[in-house]
Symmetry: C2
Subunit: 155 residues, 2 copies
DNA sequence: AAACAACATTTGTATATACAAATATATAAT
DNA sequence: ATTATATATTTGTATATACAAATGTTGTTT
């Protein structure tokens, strides 16, 4: 079902407007599915993303600001995401010795084990959700999205 | 800046995973900009979307479920979105005479006037945000997104 | 017609997010 | 050295969203 079938307006939608609506709509669609998948494992997509970022550090801790840069959430909420992960025993937080303003977040053994269980599930999910498109299509989609964001946007 | 520059992981990300991350990331990027734009007019994107849907009705009222179908939000929150719009005087809500379970939402004169001011601003915004891509690119992007959602997704 | 199921919406509530202000530390300027 | 400024994170709070249960109405079964 294409995006126009949802919007159901008589007048033709300009392609630029349609693309934005389509992006936001598809995001919502994907999020619904992802949340459904992750709910079984009692974790939110944002918490999962933090764990993935920490795992990518290969043992090295990450500062809060480093985590924040790689996500689309605000600083203050990144703090609280980490709070949740600490509660679950998946990460630790210590004050950075070289700069006591900073904070070092590290994934724990338990966090790594959790990721090892959930990551394959998410991988399958991601493969399934994109199965209608070829790898070439997806390469092109990635290029489009990168281009979209690649703007000196001053307003 | 492409998506891999943000994620900054040493190991190569599979294109299917990258596409999903890119979509979610781009969504966040766009939302930040849209909210910045709409904040001046004291309205949220979701409220704005409801107004757009109602405006597309050409005077005819819309049931709550009709609005909900065309959006990515839950029923219960659609009720509250309409609450907000009523508070602002942009819509009315009356019980449907033919089926008293249903409810009829209509855009008011004030709501229409508001849309007439804000819609052109959003149009400009949407043109600007997509200006790095040609219309052909965007057609293709829309096709990809439609295909992505076009699945018998049973899990 | 009474009882029950289905439908459309609303309410309650817990969690998530956005925005502003506060805290604590480090760096720079006088 | 003291004051001011910048940096990194946290806290407070209002708004938004998700999920489950409740309400009121209609349609269906016995």
């Amino acid at each position: 079902m294409n995006i126009e079938s949802f919007i159901k307006t008589e007048n033709k939608i300009p392609v630029r407007k349609k693309a934005i609506i389509n992006l936001l709509f598809t995001h919502g669609w994907i999020m619904d599915k992802i949340n459904l998948e992750l709910k079984n494992h009692d974790i939110s997509i944002q918490q999962f993303n933090v764990l993935r970022i920490l795992n990518g550090q290969k043992g090295k801790p990450a500062n809060l600001s480093t985590i924040q840069e790689r996500m689309v959430t605000k600083m203050s909420n990144t703090t609280r995401l980490v709070d949740k992960l600490i509660q679950k025993g998946y990460t630790t937080r210590t004050i950075c010795p070289s700069n006591r303003r900073k904070v070092e977040i590290t994934i724990t053994q338990k966090g790594t084990e959790f990721l090892n269980i959930v990551s394959p599930i998410m991988d399958d999910f991601e493969n399934k959700i994109t199965s209608n498109l070829t790898e070439e299509d997806l390469d092109q989609l990635n290029i489009f999205l990168d281009q979209l964001r690649n703007q000196n946007f001053n307003s």
